[in-house]
Symmetry: C2
């Protein structure tokens, strides 16, 4: 019997999960739950659509519910609420609030006997895993995370809120010299400015003051002031044509020492080059949905993160096959 | 109370474990067990040495025993035998024999109530993990493992067995064009010859027939015949000066597609650059010893591989700290 997946929320992430399920023969999509009117929602694959308010009626038909809402306002409410009736997976990515979110979800999931895996994706997610593995293997060392080259949705939104800006796309780019120094095992001390640059493609409203817009971007606290930022004004057509995708990626690199006199240096590097940030995150959500299903069937319950999930749970293959073919 | 580690076998790997324990504050070395005469064995750190035949007398003093023997003849016997009295870790790396070794060890460990983690290191080990994670996230894709640049002990030994060879060192080197094609997402079909080259540094006996040696190396079945192999004859002094280390490393790269029409490509790459192959393997053995200790205290038993160990078990940090700082 296939693992029956529900999707709550139908934006980029929800569509990504809908597609990712097609790549996994041991899974099937039960349906999509949305706040929008189900009659008016057109899905990519013709999946069934239900109103989110009706979701508890469907608890017997769903093995794992993948929550595809946003971290700002959706998931802090939805994940604990839905963990009462479902095994759930989310991609909660507000790093500073993870401990609180974990506690909220854990209380509900433990009481309900469900499994909830939070903060799944690539950062938090695969990058976190690689930070942990690398630190555990090379405790005497230092790790670095670089993001990009890729589109930062938050920074693009921040530019769009500036007066006179019609649309914008912001790329986060690792500084090549910083990456090279880390890879060479130099363990450099790097300021925010030395690690990443920010490149902005901006469509201005007709008659807008471009010098003022550029200055507002470059001096914006938290978002841009601490970075070397480049601003390009382009046409709406060019933005649509050249900057339509949502690529991302990055690097987690750890350099550590071993030997009686620290005489040996080791570099562990994990990197991602993603054509579609939300589709890769969706693929991770689906793999962890399989893990949640297996863990739930074993009688486990409570909130988990990627740190708590043994790798074998992610694969549809039997343990014997994994040992024989992948080990 | 610290985790008390025993080391069985005192070659490169055993010495690596002895040093790695110094990097982990939550561990201490109980002692080293060897087939050699304990009175004559000089250790790097002044650790206590016992004869391996006496090891069962020390079972109450040791939380985890790390087996540092070879995969050819030591581990197939030692790991099942010692799992009767100890939680054990080994680096068994004969890929084809892993299923049999697992079954042998599992039967003993389950009956004895101990935890055994086998095939720990980097391949099998961290590379296996990365093959599994990448395949689970991107099921529609293909993965590649490249080894090197690094010293292959097995190939160096094979050269040393040739008549007229005094000493030798063999480096396995990924072919740059193959690596580049994989990284570009081209999913190439690569023959053995197209993936790696082999470079040999050979010290010949005085008066040896160098042309004959070179030919014997290049045509040696399994080891060299399927590769483009370069042979350099050098002096014993140069070999000692320039080729004294045991560096290694490599790459696991997976390219996969997502999207309704496979329109997006993603590349996951994991790489290692290791100054000392045995010391990195030792570091992995020590981290998995911590995991075995935690799993044993939870009441788990039986044989495990890296696929069965949740990442959090590897870290000395508490789950809350991992979530707060690394996730």
């Amino acid at each position: 019997m296939k693992i029956r997946i529900g999707i709550a929320g139908y934006g980029n992430l929800g569509r990504g999960v809908e597609c990712a399920i097609l790549k996994n023969d041991d899974m099937e999509l039960y349906g999509i739950f949305s706040r929008r009117n189900p009659a008016e929602l057109k899905t990519l694959t013709g999946a069934k659509v239900f109103h989110i308010d009706e979701i508890s009626k469907h608890k017997d038909g769903i093995d794992v519910l993948i929550l595809c809402g946003g971290s700002a306002t959706d998931l802090p409410v939805q994940t604990p609420a839905l963990a009462k009736d479902f095994n759930v997976i989310d991609s909660f990515d507000t790093h500073a609030s993870i401990p609180q979110h974990f506690a909220n979800v854990d209380a509900v999931a433990k009481a309900a006997g469900t499994v909830a895996i939070i903060s799944v994706g690539w950062d938090p997610g695969m990058f976190s895993l690689n930070r942990l593995y690398a630190e555990a293997l090379l405790p005497d060392g230092k790790d670095y995370t670089f993001w990009g080259k890729g589109v930062s949705q938050g920074h693009s939104d921040a530019i769009r809120r500036i007066e006179g800006v019609k649309d914008a796309r912001q790329y986060t780019i690792p500084v090549p010299a910083a990456l090279a120094a880390v890879r060479n095992g130099q363990n450099p001390e790097l300021s925010t400015r030395e690690k990443h640059t920010r490149e902005c493609f901006v469509v201005a409203e007709a008659g807008a003051d471009m010098a003022k817009i550029e200055n507002e971007i470059k001096t914006m606290p938290n978002y841009f002031a601490d970075y070397d930022t480049t601003v390009h004004f382009i046409t709406e057509e060019e933005l649509k044509r050249e900057h339509n995708g949502i690529p991302h990626g990055g690097f987690v690199i750890r350099c550590g020492k071993t030997g009686l006199h620290d005489e040996h240096t080791h570099i562990i590097e994990y990197s991602l080059k993603l054509d579609s940030n939300p589709e890769f995150t969706s693929s991770a959500l689906v793999a962890y949905a399989r893990a949640a299903h297996k863990m739930s069937r074993e009688g486990q319950s409570g909130c988990k993160t990627v740190f708590d999930v043994a790798p074998a749970y992610l694969s549809p293959k039997a343990p014997e096959e994994l040992r024989g073919r992948l080990l």
